[in-house]
């Protein structure tokens, strides 16, 4: 006698499982349950990342015992020299910046949004999303759409989502993200498209006067720096040329950011 396996029950079970999955996805997407769960998770996540950071730090301390002494001395000297060079450059830059602010104030455009300094608690490449999670949220007055800067003036992204203690930052260099920019002294307007890893691409007509080293700014009363032209690809057959540039700071190295309300 041949017994046929009854698959009906198994099929029913599978159907209900799939139904349950889609029901939960619906609940998480279209009802307040999703935002509530996200908010609770973002409340607890910083402490988990904090524990990881502490572990990494103590690991680094333990293994630093094995570093070679002469290599450390050499690294120390190089870093000291770099700091000297940078502080000299900064002197000049700070003077110009203050002069710029003074001029804007005299022309009635001196008011500038207050900046909130935030520490990056999660950064790429922890997920396929090119996002940063920072430790400032609605408690610090952060709002969606505010600009995120590195240092005083390097623009890296904008606030995408705000929770009580944390916020998510969408990086402009994320693949496919588009941002208005101006290129060089002539302030040639263009659209920069993010291609991931802090890199951008711009397509502009071939005869536009652009040269390597031209700075790329995000237009505003207080233009923010995005990068400098690093590569220009031009073909006889193509009426457009391709400009590549990258952010001066890699998203992987960002430790703190400033969040500015425009």
């Amino acid at each position: 006698m041949i017994y046929r396996r009854d698959n009906n029950q198994e099929k029913k079970k599978k159907f209900f499982v799939i139904l349950a999955i889609f029901f939960f996805l619906y609940l998480f997407t279209f009802t307040p349950i999703g935002s509530f769960t996200r908010a609770q998770l973002q409340r607890f996540a910083p402490s988990v990342w904090g524990v990881g950071e502490q572990l990494a730090l103590s690991n680094a301390r333990i293994f630093s015992v094995f570093d070679s002494k002469s290599a450390l001395i050499e690294e120390n000297e190089t870093l000291k020299k770099e700091i000297r060079d940078i502080s000299l450059k900064l002197l000049d830059r700070n003077l110009l910046y203050e002069e710029n602010l003074l001029l804007k104030e005299r022309l009635g455009r001196g008011e500038y949004g207050q900046a909130v300094v935030a520490r990056v608690i999660s950064k790429p490449p922890r997920s396929l999303y090119d996002t940063l999670v920072v430790d400032a949220g609605s408690r610090e007055g952060i709002q969606v759409g505010e600009r995120v800067l590195y240092g005083d003036n390097i623009m890296i992204g904008e606030i995408a989502e705000v929770f009580e203690k944390t916020s998510k930052v969408r990086l402009f260099s994320s693949s496919g993200e588009v941002i208005d920019v101006t290129i060089g002294k002539r302030a040639v307007p263009a659209l920069a498209v993010g291609i991931g890893g802090g890199n951008f691409e711009i397509q502009i007509p071939r005869d536009t006067l652009i040269s390597l080293g031209d700075s790329i700014l995000a237009p505003s009363i207080m233009p923010h720096f995005l990068g400098v032209v690093e590569y220009i690809e031009s073909k006889e057959s193509d009426p457009f040329e391709r400009i590549l540039f990258k952010s001066p700071i890699s998203p992987l190295e960002i430790e703190t950011v400033e969040i500015v309300a425009e």
């Binding site: 499982v17 999955i21 996805l25 998480f28 997407t29 769960t37 996200r38 998770l41 973002q42 996540a45 988990v48 990342w49 990881g52 999660s122 490449p125 922890r126 997920s127 396929l128 999303y129 090119d130 996002t131 999670v133 995408a160 989502e161 998510k168 969408r170 994320s174 693949s175 496919g176 993200e177 588009v178």
Partner: protein, 112 residues
């Protein structure tokens, strides 16, 4: 039932129960590993762990939960993911069904 048969039956029942417990234990450990990898490692780590777990365990629904967790922690609407905040959930859902289906046709895991 003879004494021998009774003993062997009890023994197999106990060993089955033990096996079930140990599999549940391993499954919980894998779940914790996946959660840790989501918080601290690169995106490929949870992906590989989830694929391995789908092959090893029966109905590894935690794969979808892993996608939901990633989206809740890091997800924002991006052009590259067609402006959906649930890209990883959908990806892990897809992976779950594809690998669960593929599993049936493999020699080693077909009977699991």
């Amino acid at each position: 039932m003879s004494l021998y048969k009774k003993h062997s039956y009890e023994r197999s029942a106990t060993s089955n129960g033990m096996r079930k417990y140990s599999i549940v234990g391993v499954r919980i450990c894998v779940d914790i590993l996946i959660a840790i990898s989501i918080f601290f490692l690169t995106p490929w780590a949870p992906l590989l762990l989830v694929i391995g777990a789908i092959f090893y365990f029966k109905n590894f629904y935690e794969a979808i939960a892993a996608g939901v967790l990633i989206d809740m922690l890091y997800g924002v609407s991006l052009v590259k993911f067609f402006h959906t905040q649930w890209a990883m959930t959908l990806l892990f859902l897809f992976i779950y069904f594809i690998f669960n289906y593929a599993k049936r046709y493999t020699r080693f895991y077909g009977s699991r």
